[in-house]
């Protein structure tokens, strides 16, 4: 069999994966705090063909060795942690991170996950939670009679009960950041988990060194740019087509070879 058939097939598979990633990016164009993914590829092993050999007596008549690659493979789908656009919502419990960092979230299992989605709510226990009901950090209690909740750029949550009374501090939101945020693993529900590739979380307060600041009344939009995805999609589609042509060419060459025998 012509090995070019398999080589071209790996190319087609790669472009298909790339299209899947692009489709997921486009599907999440309105997901709060979503970070666009990118498929990455590497070349496969090389085969050394017609190894160097001396033909005939003369040293100059050497048949050179040539290395032939056998295609490509997917190595990773990375999420690109760039800032998404901040969108004004006016809701007092909507918080966006402007800069680096993630909100640490307590999962029911006890594990910690991380999110950039700051559309918070107050649970039936009076605790600040994400829109899916997971507790933020170590838990910030908000008494039921508190109104006028304010969240400062440094993460201080304060509120007052009734008009005219002084506002009191209820707690402080912490942020976590990573040496390699692209190494975080997506868990769905806008949550990410730490991996060996991302490194351990460093926690701190917002606006501290290296941390982003909080913006109340705004949400961070997805960082997917439709035009970029469209261009990528066109190039993935063309590359898929090119590889299918290579399959066809390899097939026709095999046909030509077999047609020699009459």
């Amino acid at each position: 069999m012509n090995p070019a058939l398999n080589t071209a097939a790996t190319g087609m598979a790669a472009q298909q994966t790339r299209t899947e990633v692009i489709a997921n990016n486009l599907a999440n164009v309105n997901t709060t705090g979503f970070k666009r993914g990118r498929a990455q590829f590497e070349d496969l092993l090389y085969q050394t063909m017609q190894g160097p050999q001396v033909l005939g007596s003369s040293e100059t008549n050497t048949s050179p060795s040539i290395q032939i690659g056998r295609g490509t493979r997917l190595t990773a789908v990375q999420s690109l942690q760039t800032q998404g656009a901040l969108e004004q919502t006016g809701r007092s419990l909507d918080v966006a991170i402007n800069g680096e960092g993630f909100f640490p979230v307590q999962l029911p299992s006890g594990a910690t996950a991380y999110t950039r989605d700051g559309s918070f709510q107050i649970s039936d226990q009076g605790v600040l939670v994400t829109s899916d009901g997971f507790q933020i950090g170590s838990g910030i209690k908000i008494p039921p009679d508190v109104t006028n909740i304010a969240i400062s750029p440094t993460g201080v949550v304060s509120g007052s009960n009734g008009a005219g009374t002084d506002s009191t501090e209820l707690g402080r939101i912490e942020l976590a950041r990573f040496a390699n945020p692209a190494g975080l693993e997506s868990m769905g529900q806008n949550l990410l988990s730490a991996t060996p590739a991302s490194g351990e979380a460093t926690t701190g307060y917002p606006s501290d060194e290296g941390m982003g600041s909080l913006v109340q009344g705004q949400l961070e939009g997805s960082n997917v740019e439709i035009v970029q995805e469209m261009v990528d999609m066109i190039s993935a589609q063309r590359a898929y087509e090119l590889n299918s042509k290579a399959v066809k060419a390899a097939d026709e060459m095999s046909q030509t070879a077999t047609a020699m025998v009459q």
């Binding site: 990455q40 070349d43 017609q50 290296g210 060459m253």
Partner: protein, 231 residues
């Protein structure tokens, strides 16, 4: 027997076009592989009648694409970064780096990136990489990334997985001749249009050599069956 010599050349030619087709297919399969270097195949005539394939890598820099990811590192200019693999030192054109559980700076496959002082141990602080390849964290310089290549006119051997095997002699590429770009990835330097044209020309040439073989075979048949007919 000149005719059999003709067959011999034609067979070599068919093999040559097949090799070329395989390389073109590999180029096409790697049109979106980060840092991939396209290969060119050309024929060399042996004994004045047999073409054999010879390959050369096009080591020119691919398009650098801004990603905004601080761990994406590309090289603008010649040379390779050096990584430490279980099989010894290897070259790579960069890509998406990360930090392994032991806090070493590693490439996408988990191989340690080598600086002038060896593997680079990092803290959890943000990483800055200058155009000269100096890795700094919180203003403290960790090390400088090594950028090397094989001597001019030669090329390292391809290993796959974005790695290359360095030759016996290494040549350090001076910072003025290249720039380390943080937040960029290098796209494959395969020109898909010329690869496509190569593929079409390979296919046509293959068919015409095949025609030559059938023609030679037909005249052989005439000789054997018509001329050599017993009287």
């Amino acid at each position: 027997m000149p005719q059999l010599n003709g067959m011999d050349s034609a067979t070599s030619a068919l093999r040559y076009w097949e090799r070329k087709q395989e390389v073109v297919a590999n180029n096409l399969a790697n049109v979106s592989t980060t840092g991939f270097k396209s290969q060119r195949v050309f024929a060399r005539l042996l004994d004045g009648m047999r073409p054999v394939a010879e390959a050369q890598s096009d080591l020119s820099t691919g398009t650098l694409k801004q990603t905004g990811n601080v761990m994406d590192v590309a090289l603008d200019g010649p040379g390779f970064f050096v990584v430490n693999t279980p099989n010894g030192e290897r070259y790579t054109r960069g890509g998406s780096l990360s930090v392994d559980p032991k806090h070493f700076l590693v490439d996408a496959n988990g191989n340690q990136m080598l600086g002038t002082k060896g593997p680079m141990k990092l803290t959890d602080d943000p990483i800055q990489i200058s155009a000269d390849g100096e890795v700094t964290q919180n203003g403290v310089m960790v090390d400088t990334l090594r950028v090397e290549s094989t001597p001019a006119g030669t090329e390292p051997v391809r290993e796959g997985d974005a790695l290359w095997v360095p030759g016996a002699t290494k040549q350090v590429i001076a910072p003025k001749d290249r720039a380390v770009k943080q937040g960029y990835t290098e796209e494959s330097n395969v020109n898909s249009m010329s690869a496509l044209i190569d593929m079409v020309s390979v296919q046509r040439s293959y068919t015409s050599v095949e025609k030559a073989i059938t023609t030679m075979d037909a005249s052989n048949e005439t000789i054997v069956n018509q001329l050599a007919k017993p009287l």
